[in-house]
Symmetry: C2
Subunit: 300 residues, 2 copies
Protein backbone atom coordinates (compact mmCIF):
# COMPACT_ATOMS: atom_id res chain seq x y z
CA UNK A 1 0.00 0.00 0.00
CA UNK A 2 1.57 3.24 -1.07
CA UNK A 3 0.93 6.54 0.65
CA UNK A 4 -0.43 8.28 -2.41
CA UNK A 5 -1.75 6.91 -5.67
CA UNK A 6 -2.32 8.16 -9.18
CA UNK A 7 -4.29 6.90 -12.13
CA UNK A 8 -4.00 8.56 -15.52
CA UNK A 9 -7.34 8.45 -17.33
CA UNK A 10 -6.38 7.87 -20.95
CA UNK A 11 -9.95 7.92 -22.23
CA UNK A 12 -11.69 10.60 -20.15
CA UNK A 13 -14.33 11.67 -22.69
CA UNK A 14 -17.46 9.64 -23.43
CA UNK A 15 -16.91 9.86 -27.18
CA UNK A 16 -13.58 8.08 -26.88
CA UNK A 17 -15.69 4.96 -26.77
CA UNK A 18 -16.11 4.78 -30.54
CA UNK A 19 -17.20 1.40 -31.89
CA UNK A 20 -14.26 -0.78 -32.80
CA UNK A 21 -11.77 1.43 -30.97
CA UNK A 22 -9.89 0.01 -28.01
CA UNK A 23 -11.85 0.59 -24.80
CA UNK A 24 -11.01 3.92 -23.18
CA UNK A 25 -9.03 3.22 -20.11
CA UNK A 26 -6.69 4.26 -17.41
CA UNK A 27 -3.46 3.12 -15.88
CA UNK A 28 -1.60 3.50 -12.63
CA UNK A 29 1.26 5.98 -12.67
CA UNK A 30 3.85 7.26 -10.22
CA UNK A 31 2.55 10.46 -8.55
CA UNK A 32 6.10 11.46 -7.63
CA UNK A 33 7.20 11.57 -11.26
CA UNK A 34 6.25 14.20 -13.85
CA UNK A 35 3.10 13.08 -15.66
CA UNK A 36 1.88 16.27 -17.36
CA UNK A 37 3.23 18.28 -20.24
CA UNK A 38 3.70 22.03 -19.73
CA UNK A 39 1.32 22.62 -22.63
CA UNK A 40 -1.55 20.87 -20.84
CA UNK A 41 -4.23 23.56 -20.49
CA UNK A 42 -4.77 22.52 -16.87
CA UNK A 43 -1.31 23.88 -16.11
CA UNK A 44 -1.19 26.85 -18.49
CA UNK A 45 -4.75 28.18 -18.24
CA UNK A 46 -6.56 26.44 -15.35
CA UNK A 47 -8.82 25.17 -18.13
CA UNK A 48 -10.57 22.13 -16.74
CA UNK A 49 -12.75 20.91 -13.90
CA UNK A 50 -12.29 18.76 -10.84
CA UNK A 51 -13.91 16.94 -7.94
CA UNK A 52 -12.61 16.21 -4.45
CA UNK A 53 -13.93 12.98 -2.99
CA UNK A 54 -13.46 11.66 0.53
CA UNK A 55 -12.73 8.00 1.20
CA UNK A 56 -13.43 6.39 4.56
CA UNK A 57 -13.02 2.66 5.26
CA UNK A 58 -12.39 2.13 1.57
CA UNK A 59 -15.67 3.80 0.49
CA UNK A 60 -15.57 6.85 -1.78
CA UNK A 61 -18.40 9.03 -0.51
CA UNK A 62 -21.18 10.52 -2.64
CA UNK A 63 -19.50 9.04 -5.70
CA UNK A 64 -22.54 9.35 -7.94
CA UNK A 65 -23.10 12.96 -6.93
CA UNK A 66 -19.44 13.75 -7.61
CA UNK A 67 -19.50 12.09 -11.02
CA UNK A 68 -22.67 13.95 -11.93
CA UNK A 69 -21.18 17.24 -10.83
CA UNK A 70 -18.02 16.54 -12.85
CA UNK A 71 -20.25 16.14 -15.89
CA UNK A 72 -22.17 19.30 -15.02
CA UNK A 73 -18.99 21.36 -14.60
CA UNK A 74 -17.66 19.93 -17.88
CA UNK A 75 -20.87 21.01 -19.65
CA UNK A 76 -20.55 24.58 -18.32
CA UNK A 77 -16.98 24.69 -19.72
CA UNK A 78 -18.01 23.14 -23.07
CA UNK A 79 -15.68 20.19 -22.42
CA UNK A 80 -16.49 16.89 -24.12
CA UNK A 81 -18.96 14.88 -22.05
CA UNK A 82 -16.89 12.76 -19.63
CA UNK A 83 -17.23 8.98 -19.80
CA UNK A 84 -18.46 8.47 -16.26
CA UNK A 85 -18.01 4.64 -16.13
CA UNK A 86 -14.31 5.09 -16.89
CA UNK A 87 -13.97 7.82 -14.27
CA UNK A 88 -15.76 5.64 -11.73
CA UNK A 89 -13.47 2.70 -12.45
CA UNK A 90 -10.41 4.95 -12.25
CA UNK A 91 -11.55 6.33 -8.89
CA UNK A 92 -12.10 2.83 -7.50
CA UNK A 93 -8.67 1.79 -8.77
CA UNK A 94 -7.05 4.62 -6.82
CA UNK A 95 -9.04 3.68 -3.71
CA UNK A 96 -7.64 0.13 -3.97
CA UNK A 97 -4.11 1.52 -3.77
CA UNK A 98 -4.69 3.56 -0.63
CA UNK A 99 -4.41 2.45 3.00
CA UNK A 100 -8.04 1.59 3.92
CA UNK A 101 -7.44 2.34 7.60
CA UNK A 102 -6.86 6.05 6.91
CA UNK A 103 -9.27 8.73 5.77
CA UNK A 104 -8.20 9.80 2.33
CA UNK A 105 -9.10 12.37 -0.25
CA UNK A 106 -9.19 11.87 -4.01
CA UNK A 107 -8.99 14.53 -6.65
CA UNK A 108 -10.39 13.77 -10.08
CA UNK A 109 -9.17 16.30 -12.66
CA UNK A 110 -10.54 16.63 -16.19
CA UNK A 111 -8.54 19.04 -18.35
CA UNK A 112 -9.11 20.37 -21.86
CA UNK A 113 -5.81 18.70 -22.73
CA UNK A 114 -2.75 19.70 -24.66
CA UNK A 115 -2.96 23.15 -26.25
CA UNK A 116 -3.89 22.96 -29.89
CA UNK A 117 -5.03 19.34 -29.56
CA UNK A 118 -8.55 18.02 -29.32
CA UNK A 119 -8.09 15.30 -26.70
CA UNK A 120 -8.81 16.07 -23.07
CA UNK A 121 -6.62 14.68 -20.31
CA UNK A 122 -7.66 13.29 -16.95
CA UNK A 123 -6.28 11.90 -13.78
CA UNK A 124 -7.31 10.76 -10.31
CA UNK A 125 -4.93 11.38 -7.43
CA UNK A 126 -5.41 10.06 -3.92
CA UNK A 127 -3.64 10.83 -0.65
CA UNK A 128 -4.31 10.31 3.05
CA UNK A 129 -6.18 13.22 4.61
CA UNK A 130 -4.84 15.33 7.46
CA UNK A 131 -6.48 14.55 10.81
CA UNK A 132 -9.58 16.75 10.81
CA UNK A 133 -10.98 15.52 14.14
CA UNK A 134 -9.90 18.62 16.09
CA UNK A 135 -11.27 21.15 13.60
CA UNK A 136 -14.51 19.18 13.30
CA UNK A 137 -15.23 19.87 16.97
CA UNK A 138 -13.36 23.12 17.72
CA UNK A 139 -14.48 24.79 14.50
CA UNK A 140 -13.07 27.64 12.47
CA UNK A 141 -13.11 31.41 12.50
CA UNK A 142 -14.33 32.83 9.20
CA UNK A 143 -14.30 36.22 7.55
CA UNK A 144 -16.89 37.43 5.06
CA UNK A 145 -15.31 38.57 1.79
CA UNK A 146 -16.84 40.13 -1.31
CA UNK A 147 -16.91 37.72 -4.28
CA UNK A 148 -17.38 40.66 -6.61
CA UNK A 149 -20.27 39.11 -8.57
CA UNK A 150 -24.02 39.63 -8.17
CA UNK A 151 -25.73 36.52 -6.76
CA UNK A 152 -27.45 35.75 -10.09
CA UNK A 153 -24.40 36.09 -12.34
CA UNK A 154 -24.72 32.49 -13.52
CA UNK A 155 -27.96 33.42 -15.32
CA UNK A 156 -26.79 36.70 -16.84
CA UNK A 157 -23.14 35.90 -17.64
CA UNK A 158 -22.60 32.13 -17.87
CA UNK A 159 -19.09 32.67 -19.32
CA UNK A 160 -17.99 33.63 -15.79
CA UNK A 161 -18.44 29.92 -14.98
CA UNK A 162 -20.19 30.39 -11.64
CA UNK A 163 -21.55 27.00 -10.61
CA UNK A 164 -18.68 25.05 -12.22
CA UNK A 165 -15.85 23.55 -10.18
CA UNK A 166 -13.01 24.73 -12.40
CA UNK A 167 -9.26 24.39 -12.02
CA UNK A 168 -9.08 28.20 -11.99
CA UNK A 169 -9.02 28.43 -8.20
CA UNK A 170 -6.40 31.16 -7.70
CA UNK A 171 -9.08 33.48 -6.28
CA UNK A 172 -10.28 30.86 -3.79
CA UNK A 173 -6.73 30.41 -2.55
CA UNK A 174 -6.09 34.18 -2.39
CA UNK A 175 -9.25 34.58 -0.30
CA UNK A 176 -7.96 31.96 2.15
CA UNK A 177 -4.68 33.86 2.45
CA UNK A 178 -6.65 37.06 3.11
CA UNK A 179 -8.62 35.21 5.83
CA UNK A 180 -5.33 34.12 7.42
CA UNK A 181 -4.03 37.69 7.30
CA UNK A 182 -7.14 38.73 9.22
CA UNK A 183 -6.49 36.05 11.84
CA UNK A 184 -9.22 33.71 10.58
CA UNK A 185 -9.09 30.17 9.22
CA UNK A 186 -11.56 30.32 6.39
CA UNK A 187 -13.73 32.53 4.25
CA UNK A 188 -17.39 32.88 3.31
CA UNK A 189 -17.97 34.73 0.06
CA UNK A 190 -20.71 37.36 -0.13
CA UNK A 191 -22.18 38.49 -3.46
CA UNK A 192 -21.78 42.08 -4.64
CA UNK A 193 -25.49 42.54 -3.88
CA UNK A 194 -25.16 41.27 -0.33
CA UNK A 195 -26.08 37.57 -0.24
CA UNK A 196 -24.21 34.73 1.45
CA UNK A 197 -22.68 32.48 -1.21
CA UNK A 198 -20.24 29.70 -0.23
CA UNK A 199 -16.84 29.04 1.31
CA UNK A 200 -13.60 28.87 -0.68
CA UNK A 201 -13.96 25.08 -0.88
CA UNK A 202 -17.17 24.42 1.05
CA UNK A 203 -20.90 25.06 1.34
CA UNK A 204 -22.43 27.15 4.11
CA UNK A 205 -25.14 25.69 6.35
CA UNK A 206 -26.82 27.40 9.29
CA UNK A 207 -29.59 26.68 11.74
CA UNK A 208 -32.38 29.16 12.49
CA UNK A 209 -35.26 28.22 14.81
CA UNK A 210 -34.83 24.51 14.24
CA UNK A 211 -34.51 24.71 10.47
CA UNK A 212 -31.33 23.90 8.55
CA UNK A 213 -30.67 26.47 5.82
CA UNK A 214 -28.27 26.87 2.87
CA UNK A 215 -28.05 29.44 0.05
CA UNK A 216 -29.13 27.01 -2.70
CA UNK A 217 -28.01 27.22 -6.31
CA UNK A 218 -29.12 28.42 -9.73
CA UNK A 219 -31.95 25.84 -9.81
CA UNK A 220 -33.46 26.73 -6.42
CA UNK A 221 -32.68 30.27 -5.24
CA UNK A 222 -31.03 31.45 -8.45
CA UNK A 223 -27.72 31.87 -6.66
CA UNK A 224 -24.72 31.10 -8.89
CA UNK A 225 -22.70 28.81 -6.65
CA UNK A 226 -21.56 25.22 -6.69
CA UNK A 227 -24.07 22.54 -5.77
CA UNK A 228 -22.56 20.99 -2.64
CA UNK A 229 -22.37 17.20 -2.69
CA UNK A 230 -21.79 17.04 1.07
CA UNK A 231 -24.46 19.70 1.64
CA UNK A 232 -26.82 17.44 -0.32
CA UNK A 233 -26.10 14.52 2.00
CA UNK A 234 -26.50 16.68 5.11
CA UNK A 235 -29.85 17.84 3.77
CA UNK A 236 -30.96 14.19 3.49
CA UNK A 237 -29.91 13.66 7.10
CA UNK A 238 -31.77 16.85 8.13
CA UNK A 239 -34.91 15.66 6.36
CA UNK A 240 -34.82 12.39 8.32
CA UNK A 241 -34.31 14.37 11.51
CA UNK A 242 -37.14 16.86 10.97
CA UNK A 243 -34.87 19.85 10.62
CA UNK A 244 -36.76 21.20 7.58
CA UNK A 245 -33.78 21.65 5.24
CA UNK A 246 -34.45 24.70 3.09
CA UNK A 247 -32.62 26.78 0.49
CA UNK A 248 -32.74 30.51 1.13
CA UNK A 249 -31.31 33.83 0.04
CA UNK A 250 -29.53 34.89 3.19
CA UNK A 251 -27.71 38.07 4.17
CA UNK A 252 -24.67 38.37 6.45
CA UNK A 253 -27.08 39.47 9.20
CA UNK A 254 -29.10 36.28 8.75
CA UNK A 255 -25.91 34.26 9.15
CA UNK A 256 -24.73 36.25 12.16
CA UNK A 257 -28.14 35.82 13.79
CA UNK A 258 -28.20 32.04 13.28
CA UNK A 259 -28.17 29.57 16.18
CA UNK A 260 -25.23 27.65 14.70
CA UNK A 261 -23.42 27.52 11.35
CA UNK A 262 -21.09 25.19 9.49
CA UNK A 263 -18.83 24.92 6.49
CA UNK A 264 -19.36 21.52 4.90
CA UNK A 265 -17.12 19.91 2.31
CA UNK A 266 -16.06 16.53 1.02
CA UNK A 267 -12.80 16.29 2.92
CA UNK A 268 -13.43 18.10 6.19
CA UNK A 269 -17.13 17.21 6.44
CA UNK A 270 -19.00 19.59 8.80
CA UNK A 271 -16.81 22.16 10.49
CA UNK A 272 -18.62 24.47 12.92
CA UNK A 273 -18.12 28.22 12.59
CA UNK A 274 -16.96 29.61 15.92
CA UNK A 275 -16.49 33.23 14.86
CA UNK A 276 -17.52 35.54 12.01
CA UNK A 277 -15.29 38.54 11.35
CA UNK A 278 -13.86 38.14 14.83
CA UNK A 279 -17.22 38.00 16.62
CA UNK A 280 -17.89 34.72 18.47
CA UNK A 281 -20.63 32.59 16.95
CA UNK A 282 -22.57 29.93 18.92
CA UNK A 283 -21.60 26.28 18.40
CA UNK A 284 -23.98 23.33 18.60
CA UNK A 285 -21.75 20.39 19.53
CA UNK A 286 -24.64 17.90 19.47
CA UNK A 287 -25.74 18.64 15.92
CA UNK A 288 -22.15 18.95 14.68
CA UNK A 289 -21.33 15.53 16.03
CA UNK A 290 -24.56 14.00 14.66
CA UNK A 291 -23.88 15.38 11.18
CA UNK A 292 -20.28 14.18 11.19
CA UNK A 293 -21.25 10.70 12.41
CA UNK A 294 -23.74 10.51 9.60
CA UNK A 295 -21.24 11.71 7.00
CA UNK A 296 -18.50 9.32 8.18
CA UNK A 297 -20.91 6.40 8.12
CA UNK A 298 -22.09 6.79 4.52
CA UNK A 299 -21.59 3.67 2.47
CA UNK A 300 -22.32 5.29 -0.88
Amino acid sequence: MSHTALVIVTGPAADNATPGAPAPGFHLADPDLPQLRVTDLAASRGDGVFESISVIDGHPHALEAHLNRLAQSAAILDLPRPGLPVWEAAILRVVEELDPTREASLRAVYSRGIEGGSTPTGWVYGAPSPDYSAVRSAGVGVVLLDRGYRHDIQHTAPWLLAGAKTLSYAVNRAALREANRRGADDVIFVSADGYILEGATSSVLFMVAGRLLTPGTAETTGIGILEGTTQGDVFRWAEENNLSPTTVMATPDDLRGSDAAWLVSSSRHAVPIRSIDGQPHPLDAGITSAINSYLAGRTS
Copy 2:
Protein backbone atom coordinates in the same frame (compact mmCIF):
# COMPACT_ATOMS: atom_id res chain seq x y z
CA MET B 1 16.78 24.15 -34.40
CA SER B 2 13.78 22.49 -32.89
CA HIS B 3 10.25 23.67 -33.49
CA THR B 4 9.42 24.25 -29.85
CA ALA B 5 11.64 24.65 -26.82
CA LEU B 6 11.32 24.33 -23.08
CA VAL B 7 13.45 25.43 -20.19
CA ILE B 8 12.62 24.34 -16.65
CA VAL B 9 13.50 27.09 -14.19
CA THR B 10 14.81 25.19 -11.17
CA GLY B 11 15.42 28.31 -9.09
CA PRO B 12 12.53 30.64 -9.95
CA ALA B 13 12.39 32.57 -6.65
CA ALA B 14 14.83 35.32 -5.72
CA ASP B 15 15.45 33.84 -2.28
CA ASN B 16 16.74 30.60 -3.80
CA ALA B 17 19.98 32.54 -4.14
CA THR B 18 21.05 31.90 -0.56
CA PRO B 19 24.75 32.39 0.16
CA GLY B 20 26.73 29.21 -0.25
CA ALA B 21 23.88 27.44 -2.07
CA PRO B 22 24.38 26.38 -5.66
CA ALA B 23 23.31 29.16 -8.02
CA PRO B 24 19.64 28.91 -8.95
CA GLY B 25 19.39 27.82 -12.49
CA PHE B 26 17.50 26.30 -15.32
CA HIS B 27 17.92 23.53 -17.83
CA LEU B 28 16.58 22.58 -21.23
CA ALA B 29 13.90 19.90 -21.24
CA ASP B 30 11.82 18.07 -23.83
CA PRO B 31 8.46 19.87 -24.26
CA ASP B 32 6.92 16.72 -25.73
CA LEU B 33 7.56 14.72 -22.56
CA PRO B 34 5.75 15.07 -19.23
CA GLN B 35 7.58 17.60 -17.06
CA LEU B 36 5.04 18.46 -14.36
CA ARG B 37 3.64 16.49 -11.47
CA VAL B 38 -0.13 16.30 -11.10
CA THR B 39 0.23 17.88 -7.66
CA ASP B 40 1.77 21.05 -9.09
CA LEU B 41 -0.63 23.82 -8.09
CA ALA B 42 -0.45 25.25 -11.61
CA ALA B 43 -2.30 22.14 -12.80
CA SER B 44 -4.60 21.52 -9.84
CA ARG B 45 -5.58 25.09 -8.87
CA GLY B 46 -4.42 27.51 -11.59
CA ASP B 47 -2.30 28.92 -8.78
CA GLY B 48 0.48 30.86 -10.42
CA VAL B 49 1.18 33.65 -12.88
CA PHE B 50 2.50 33.92 -16.41
CA GLU B 51 3.72 36.16 -19.20
CA SER B 52 3.47 35.79 -22.98
CA ILE B 53 6.36 37.33 -24.86
CA SER B 54 6.75 37.73 -28.61
CA VAL B 55 10.05 37.06 -30.35
CA ILE B 56 10.87 38.56 -33.75
CA ASP B 57 14.26 38.21 -35.45
CA GLY B 58 15.59 36.63 -32.30
CA HIS B 59 14.55 39.57 -30.06
CA PRO B 60 12.15 38.98 -27.18
CA HIS B 61 10.03 42.15 -27.12
CA ALA B 62 9.39 44.33 -24.08
CA LEU B 63 11.38 41.86 -21.99
CA GLU B 64 11.92 44.22 -19.08
CA ALA B 65 8.24 45.16 -18.96
CA HIS B 66 7.28 41.47 -19.01
CA LEU B 67 9.70 40.60 -16.23
CA ASN B 68 8.44 43.50 -14.14
CA ARG B 69 4.84 42.46 -14.67
CA LEU B 70 5.70 38.86 -13.73
CA ALA B 71 7.04 40.21 -10.44
CA GLN B 72 3.97 42.41 -9.99
CA SER B 73 1.56 39.52 -10.61
CA ALA B 74 3.59 37.34 -8.22
CA ALA B 75 3.30 40.01 -5.54
CA ILE B 76 -0.50 40.19 -5.92
CA LEU B 77 -0.61 36.39 -5.44
CA ASP B 78 1.80 36.46 -2.47
CA LEU B 79 4.24 34.27 -4.40
CA PRO B 80 7.91 34.49 -3.45
CA ARG B 81 9.61 37.33 -5.32
CA PRO B 82 10.85 35.87 -8.62
CA GLY B 83 14.59 36.02 -9.33
CA LEU B 84 14.35 38.11 -12.50
CA PRO B 85 17.95 37.56 -13.72
CA VAL B 86 17.34 33.80 -13.78
CA TRP B 87 14.05 34.26 -15.62
CA GLU B 88 15.72 36.56 -18.12
CA ALA B 89 18.50 34.06 -18.75
CA ALA B 90 15.97 31.23 -19.09
CA ILE B 91 13.96 33.25 -21.61
CA LEU B 92 17.06 34.03 -23.67
CA ARG B 93 18.02 30.34 -23.58
CA VAL B 94 14.65 29.38 -25.08
CA VAL B 95 15.02 32.08 -27.74
CA GLU B 96 18.37 30.53 -28.74
CA GLU B 97 16.63 27.22 -29.42
CA LEU B 98 13.96 28.67 -31.71
CA ASP B 99 14.14 29.28 -35.45
CA PRO B 100 15.12 33.00 -35.66
CA THR B 101 13.46 33.39 -39.06
CA ARG B 102 9.99 32.80 -37.61
CA GLU B 103 7.91 34.94 -35.27
CA ALA B 104 7.58 33.04 -32.03
CA SER B 105 5.81 33.35 -28.74
CA LEU B 106 7.20 32.44 -25.33
CA ARG B 107 5.24 31.66 -22.22
CA ALA B 108 6.94 32.10 -18.86
CA VAL B 109 4.99 30.35 -16.09
CA TYR B 110 5.65 30.78 -12.37
CA SER B 111 3.65 28.37 -10.21
CA ARG B 112 3.27 28.07 -6.45
CA GLY B 113 4.76 24.60 -6.85
CA ILE B 114 3.94 21.18 -5.53
CA GLU B 115 1.02 21.10 -3.10
CA GLY B 116 2.18 21.04 0.48
CA GLY B 117 5.70 22.09 -0.49
CA SER B 118 7.26 25.51 -0.22
CA THR B 119 9.21 25.64 -3.47
CA PRO B 120 7.67 27.31 -6.51
CA THR B 121 8.14 25.85 -9.97
CA GLY B 122 8.77 27.67 -13.21
CA TRP B 123 9.22 27.11 -16.89
CA VAL B 124 9.59 28.96 -20.17
CA TYR B 125 8.06 27.42 -23.28
CA GLY B 126 8.54 28.75 -26.78
CA ALA B 127 6.84 27.91 -30.07
CA PRO B 128 6.53 29.49 -33.51
CA SER B 129 3.52 31.81 -33.78
CA PRO B 130 0.67 31.33 -36.22
CA ASP B 131 0.80 33.75 -39.16
CA TYR B 132 -1.01 36.83 -37.85
CA SER B 133 -0.50 39.00 -40.94
CA ALA B 134 -4.07 38.57 -42.23
CA VAL B 135 -5.76 39.34 -38.91
CA ARG B 136 -3.46 42.33 -38.37
CA SER B 137 -4.95 43.99 -41.44
CA ALA B 138 -8.46 42.49 -41.76
CA GLY B 139 -9.18 42.82 -38.05
CA VAL B 140 -11.58 41.03 -35.75
CA GLY B 141 -15.22 41.21 -34.80
CA VAL B 142 -15.67 41.59 -31.06
CA VAL B 143 -18.56 41.25 -28.64
CA LEU B 144 -18.86 43.14 -25.37
CA LEU B 145 -19.33 40.81 -22.41
CA ASP B 146 -19.96 41.55 -18.74
CA ARG B 147 -16.90 40.77 -16.57
CA GLY B 148 -19.14 40.73 -13.50
CA TYR B 149 -16.89 42.96 -11.37
CA ARG B 150 -17.09 46.70 -10.72
CA HIS B 151 -14.27 48.61 -12.43
CA ASP B 152 -12.55 49.38 -9.11
CA ILE B 153 -12.66 45.87 -7.64
CA GLN B 154 -8.86 45.74 -7.38
CA HIS B 155 -9.00 48.44 -4.68
CA THR B 156 -11.92 47.05 -2.69
CA ALA B 157 -11.32 43.26 -3.04
CA PRO B 158 -7.68 42.57 -3.90
CA TRP B 159 -8.20 38.83 -3.25
CA LEU B 160 -10.09 38.71 -6.57
CA LEU B 161 -6.66 39.21 -8.18
CA ALA B 162 -7.73 41.78 -10.76
CA GLY B 163 -4.57 43.22 -12.28
CA ALA B 164 -2.59 39.97 -11.97
CA LYS B 165 -1.93 37.71 -14.94
CA THR B 166 -2.82 34.44 -13.24
CA LEU B 167 -2.97 30.90 -14.58
CA SER B 168 -6.68 30.87 -13.67
CA TYR B 169 -7.81 31.80 -17.17
CA ALA B 170 -10.82 29.50 -17.56
CA VAL B 171 -13.14 32.54 -17.66
CA ASN B 172 -11.08 34.25 -20.38
CA ARG B 173 -11.29 31.12 -22.49
CA ALA B 174 -15.03 30.69 -21.83
CA ALA B 175 -15.61 34.29 -22.93
CA LEU B 176 -13.79 33.58 -26.20
CA ARG B 177 -16.04 30.55 -26.79
CA GLU B 178 -19.08 32.75 -26.12
CA ALA B 179 -17.76 35.28 -28.65
CA ASN B 180 -17.40 32.47 -31.22
CA ARG B 181 -20.95 31.31 -30.49
CA ARG B 182 -22.10 34.85 -31.30
CA GLY B 183 -20.21 34.81 -34.58
CA ALA B 184 -17.37 37.03 -33.35
CA ASP B 185 -13.63 36.42 -33.01
CA ASP B 186 -12.86 38.10 -29.74
CA VAL B 187 -14.27 39.71 -26.63
CA ILE B 188 -14.01 43.02 -24.80
CA PHE B 189 -14.97 42.82 -21.14
CA VAL B 190 -17.17 45.51 -19.62
CA SER B 191 -17.32 46.11 -15.86
CA ALA B 192 -20.54 45.55 -13.94
CA ASP B 193 -20.81 49.34 -13.65
CA GLY B 194 -20.45 49.89 -17.37
CA TYR B 195 -16.81 50.66 -18.18
CA ILE B 196 -14.66 49.21 -20.94
CA LEU B 197 -12.00 46.94 -19.40
CA GLU B 198 -9.81 44.74 -21.62
CA GLY B 199 -9.88 41.82 -24.04
CA ALA B 200 -9.55 38.18 -22.99
CA THR B 201 -5.81 38.34 -23.70
CA SER B 202 -5.32 41.92 -24.90
CA SER B 203 -5.63 45.62 -24.11
CA VAL B 204 -8.17 47.89 -25.81
CA LEU B 205 -7.02 51.04 -27.63
CA PHE B 206 -9.21 53.47 -29.54
CA MET B 207 -8.83 56.77 -31.35
CA VAL B 208 -11.10 59.74 -30.75
CA ALA B 209 -10.49 63.08 -32.47
CA GLY B 210 -6.81 62.38 -33.01
CA ARG B 211 -6.13 61.12 -29.48
CA LEU B 212 -5.20 57.52 -28.68
CA LEU B 213 -7.09 56.28 -25.60
CA THR B 214 -7.01 53.20 -23.33
CA PRO B 215 -8.84 52.34 -20.08
CA GLY B 216 -5.73 52.60 -17.87
CA THR B 217 -5.17 50.58 -14.71
CA ALA B 218 -5.40 50.82 -10.94
CA GLU B 219 -2.61 53.43 -10.83
CA THR B 220 -4.12 55.81 -13.39
CA THR B 221 -7.90 55.50 -13.80
CA GLY B 222 -8.44 53.11 -10.88
CA ILE B 223 -9.60 50.37 -13.25
CA GLY B 224 -8.61 46.89 -12.08
CA ILE B 225 -7.15 45.42 -15.26
CA LEU B 226 -3.80 44.19 -16.42
CA GLU B 227 -1.16 46.73 -17.35
CA GLY B 228 -0.58 46.04 -21.05
CA THR B 229 3.07 45.70 -22.02
CA THR B 230 2.27 46.12 -25.73
CA GLN B 231 -0.17 48.94 -24.94
CA GLY B 232 2.71 50.64 -23.11
CA ASP B 233 4.90 50.42 -26.20
CA VAL B 234 2.11 51.70 -28.46
CA PHE B 235 1.65 54.63 -26.11
CA ARG B 236 5.35 55.49 -26.52
CA TRP B 237 4.89 55.39 -30.29
CA ALA B 238 1.76 57.57 -29.98
CA GLU B 239 3.63 60.11 -27.87
CA GLU B 240 6.32 60.40 -30.57
CA ASN B 241 3.59 60.81 -33.18
CA ASN B 242 1.60 63.52 -31.36
CA LEU B 243 -1.44 61.32 -30.80
CA SER B 244 -1.82 62.42 -27.16
CA PRO B 245 -1.99 58.94 -25.57
CA THR B 246 -4.34 59.15 -22.60
CA THR B 247 -5.91 56.78 -20.07
CA VAL B 248 -9.66 57.20 -19.68
CA MET B 249 -12.74 55.66 -18.15
CA ALA B 250 -14.71 54.78 -21.26
CA THR B 251 -18.19 53.39 -21.78
CA PRO B 252 -19.34 51.07 -24.57
CA ASP B 253 -20.82 54.15 -26.28
CA ASP B 254 -17.42 55.86 -26.20
CA LEU B 255 -15.88 52.80 -27.86
CA ARG B 256 -18.66 52.52 -30.45
CA GLY B 257 -18.29 56.22 -31.26
CA SER B 258 -14.52 56.02 -31.75
CA ASP B 259 -12.81 56.65 -35.10
CA ALA B 260 -10.91 53.35 -34.92
CA ALA B 261 -10.17 50.74 -32.25
CA TRP B 262 -7.68 47.91 -31.67
CA LEU B 263 -6.94 44.94 -29.48
CA VAL B 264 -3.22 44.92 -28.74
CA SER B 265 -1.28 42.02 -27.26
CA SER B 266 2.20 40.55 -27.18
CA SER B 267 1.64 37.88 -29.80
CA ARG B 268 -0.83 39.40 -32.24
CA HIS B 269 0.35 43.02 -31.82
CA ALA B 270 -2.33 45.52 -32.97
CA VAL B 271 -5.46 43.93 -34.42
CA PRO B 272 -8.09 46.38 -35.67
CA ILE B 273 -11.67 45.96 -34.50
CA ARG B 274 -13.92 45.73 -37.54
CA SER B 275 -17.21 45.14 -35.73
CA ILE B 276 -18.65 45.49 -32.24
CA ASP B 277 -21.61 43.26 -31.37
CA GLY B 278 -22.23 42.77 -35.07
CA GLN B 279 -22.16 46.48 -35.97
CA PRO B 280 -19.37 47.48 -38.39
CA HIS B 281 -16.67 49.66 -36.86
CA PRO B 282 -14.38 51.93 -38.93
CA LEU B 283 -10.83 50.74 -39.62
CA ASP B 284 -7.80 52.98 -40.00
CA ALA B 285 -5.41 50.98 -42.16
CA GLY B 286 -2.71 53.65 -42.03
CA ILE B 287 -2.46 53.83 -38.27
CA THR B 288 -2.80 50.05 -37.89
CA SER B 289 0.09 49.49 -40.22
CA ALA B 290 2.21 52.20 -38.57
CA ILE B 291 1.64 50.69 -35.11
CA ASN B 292 2.46 47.17 -36.30
CA SER B 293 5.61 48.30 -38.10
CA TYR B 294 6.72 49.98 -34.91
CA LEU B 295 5.93 46.91 -32.78
CA ALA B 296 7.68 44.49 -35.14
CA GLY B 297 10.75 46.70 -35.26
CA ARG B 298 11.35 46.94 -31.52
CA THR B 299 14.81 45.79 -30.52
CA SER B 300 14.10 45.67 -26.80
